[in-house]
Amino acid sequence: MSELLSIDHISVSYGNIQALRDVSIHVREGEIVCLIGANGAGKSTLLKAIVGLEPLVSGSIAYKGEVIARNDHAFGSHNPLLRFFKNPKHAAQDTRSLRTDEIASRGIALVPEGRRVFADLTVEENLDMGAFLIDDDAFIAKKKKEMYEFFPILGMRRKQKTRSLSGGEQQMMAIARALMSAPKLLLLDEPGLGLAPLIIQDIFEKIEIINKEDNVTVFLVEQNARMALRTSDEGHVMENGRIVLSDTSEQLLENEKVKAAYLGE
């Protein structure tokens, strides 16, 4: 299987605080890869870096071989004067990081932490926004129908403002919204956060179906380590902004350290 997402030695800082240190993760096409770790370990920051919402201090991120994020400052491209006088011959190798909307257009969709639904828009309008990059109305209609079949509750609440939905429904809506653009890579930030165990189970089952049947590669970040490891093929453990352990999810479930620290055994 070919490599879809390559995160190479990236670091991210908030002021003086280093949120990510030399993180490398590779996601192959068709896999479900999870990243587990405690609150504040830097998991969400990593997802934000992938979609271009957090600038990198060092390292680079490539999607299907194309660099989508790098440290722009190292190349002087933050300086408008340098950019202006740049030799066009070098433009190709001196690519800047892509903007978030450009990254979305490449086929990467993020279900953000806390769901971030457009609360004043109806369910249907939210799905329309998920399909913003698609021009084909017939395709959008087909996708919406698929989503209403996949998440029947959303079909029933189609015309309702999203703020009136329960937490679980909002999570499903956020996932459906991300799927509207028919992404190749789905990033999920704590899809189980704050939800009842039965709903979490339902959502993870849906994630597996999306992966197996629609052939969407999934990279998910989760505090609920057991659920995440059972669903995924490969796992990484993050502590204080570093990857401390990487293995197949099966192995990680048996790992003594993981058991003690994350599975409560």
């Binding site: 909307d101 457009f118 990059l133």
Partner: protein
Amino acid sequence: MGSWAEFFQHLMNGLTLGGIYALIALGYTMVYGILKFINFAHGDILMMGSYIGLFVYNAIRGELLGFWTIIAFFLSMLVGMMFSAILGMAIEKIAYKPLRKATRLAPLLSAIGVSFILSNLAAWMWGTKSKKLEYPFDNSPIHLGDIAVTPHQIMILVVVVVMMVALKLFIDRSRLGKAMRATSLDQDTAKLMGIKVDRIIAITFAIGSALAATAGFLIALEIKVYPSMGTMTGLKAFVAAVVGGIGNISGAMVGGILLGLIETFGVALLGIPYALRDTIAFIILIIILLVKPEGLLGKAEKEKV
């Protein structure tokens, strides 16, 4: 006093005035909705558009008669609107966009600076003497029973209604309109959907500025065109936007109409001296800020983390 005819007369006057406030208030509120920032140069964008419309009208009107002068009038208005739209986008790109990550005070100060630059520029280029915009029709009042309505008032009402309905349909139904609402709710998530937020902001400035130019050109028939014509009207429209709930499009419409009615009836019925008419808006502003700071249709906003 108290006859119905008199009441309807004031109602008509209040509605036309309020419609104008509403058109201008929409620009303030749409920009605020997305950038959480008050574009204090909005009134001067109105003024610039009115000047351009005036020049175009005087150039093409010539010996035109009757119906054709009305066509020429609306054509000139359209040019003024386009000019203001481009001006609004240019100001955003040059004076506001580079300050988007700065403190909230910085773009505000920049806007006040732009406001002075525009009005001084207009005074320098075209003089401070006000320029008359000729009516494209005979503006003698039409008597409907005891009520006197001028064709000018009818034109204002028609244009205001058309603009508001068009804007509301655009915002509610179109893909771009939905993207504007999504962007004002959550910029980062809008970006994740592939929405080019910078483009949405530019379009917002263009629409708001074009609406302001429309309002300016319509009132220019009565108040003429001069460099500071947008200042007081702009400030009052800003009050209307706050009264309706800043950031809320329906709120701006309601706030504008309401302010127009209160001003008219305040003078006519409550006997507020005409010289104090302009203070009514600001007294209402203070009351609203004290009693219901989020405005009539606004939601009490929780600080987002």
